[in-house]
């Protein structure tokens, strides 16, 4: 997994706010666009691109893109 590519893919789920400054440390819920639809889109992205299933708990316990990346990375290699 490439972390920069992951951040870019993650950022692509947002289309209403500027995401140029998105980084691995971005707290992805702390913006005006985060919603249950965005959560759904992130889950679909991870399933589609990495064949990993995120759970509700994964999303709930994560605050940064790094948190999600770590979960996905651990399951991709598992």
């Amino acid at each position: 997994m490439n972390i920069e590519q992951f951040v870019r893919q993650f950022a692509e789920q947002f289309d209403e706010i500027p995401t140029d400054d998105f980084s691995i440390d971005t707290k992805f819920k702390e913006n005006d666009e985060w919603s249950s639809m965005t959560a759904l889109s992130v889950i679909a992205l991870v399933d589609d691109s990495y064949s990993v299933r995120l759970t509700g708990d994964d999303i709930r316990k994560s605050s940064t893109i790094q948190d999600i990346y770590d979960i996905v990375a651990s399951r991709v290699t598992a």
């Binding site: 666009e33 759904l40 992205l45 759970t55 999303i59």
Partner: protein, 178 residues
């Protein structure tokens, strides 16, 4: 015979009433949400009249427009089943209030699909999604099959097998809560 309200996944689902007009109008005229909807006049009386006409269709079993509330009885969104032809239905008007719990969209989608298939006995769902509505497009493409498209919209179909796949997948995501 449909018995409502239905409590599922921590949400309460009931039919839309005329008294919900202001809430629905607020969703349909929300600048972000309305980007992917057919235009709605910001006119409460018109919205009330639309719901009155809908209630007639509901009585005849032609259409079901659900509102879902959280555990504090606060309305969180709406979703509609309509255009019933043989064993096929359309699903649309799906709106979730900004600021809702992270999984309200998934839960409401799960409910409406299950209701249509298991309670109403439908076998396939036709629906359209605006191409620009990227979040929803990506989600639906996980389970549904693309039938056709035009400049602005994708037209999709979800049969019973796809529904079963979706049900299994989505319940596994929210499982600790149900």
């Amino acid at each position: 015979m449909i018995t409502l309200p239905i409590k599922k996944y921590g949400l309460t689902f009931r039919m839309v009433e005329v008294s919900d007009a202001a809430f629905i109008l607020g969703l349909r005229t929300d600048p972000k949400l309305s980007r992917h909807l057919s235009p709605t006049d910001d006119d409460l009386a018109k919205q009330q009249a639309w719901i009155c006409a809908y209630k007639e269709r509901e009585t005849q079993g032609l259409e079901y427009y659900f509102l879902f509330e959280n555990e504090d009885h606060e309305p969180q969104g709406v979703v509609r089943l309509y255009n019933f032809i043989n064993k096929t239905y359309n699903s649309g008007s799906w709106l979730v209030k900004p600021g809702s719990d992270d999984f309200t969209a998934i839960k409401s989608d799960l409910f409406i699909s299950s209701f249509a298939i298991n309670e109403l006995g439908f076998e396939q769902c036709l629906f359209e999604v605006r191409k620009a509505n990227k979040k929803v497009v990506r989600f639906h493409k996980m389970f549904a099959t693309l039938l056709s498209e035009d400049e602005n919209n994708l037209y999709l179909i979800m049969d019973k097998k796809a529904y079963e796949r979706k049900y299994k997948y989505l319940t596994s995501i929210i499982e600790p809560e149900i």
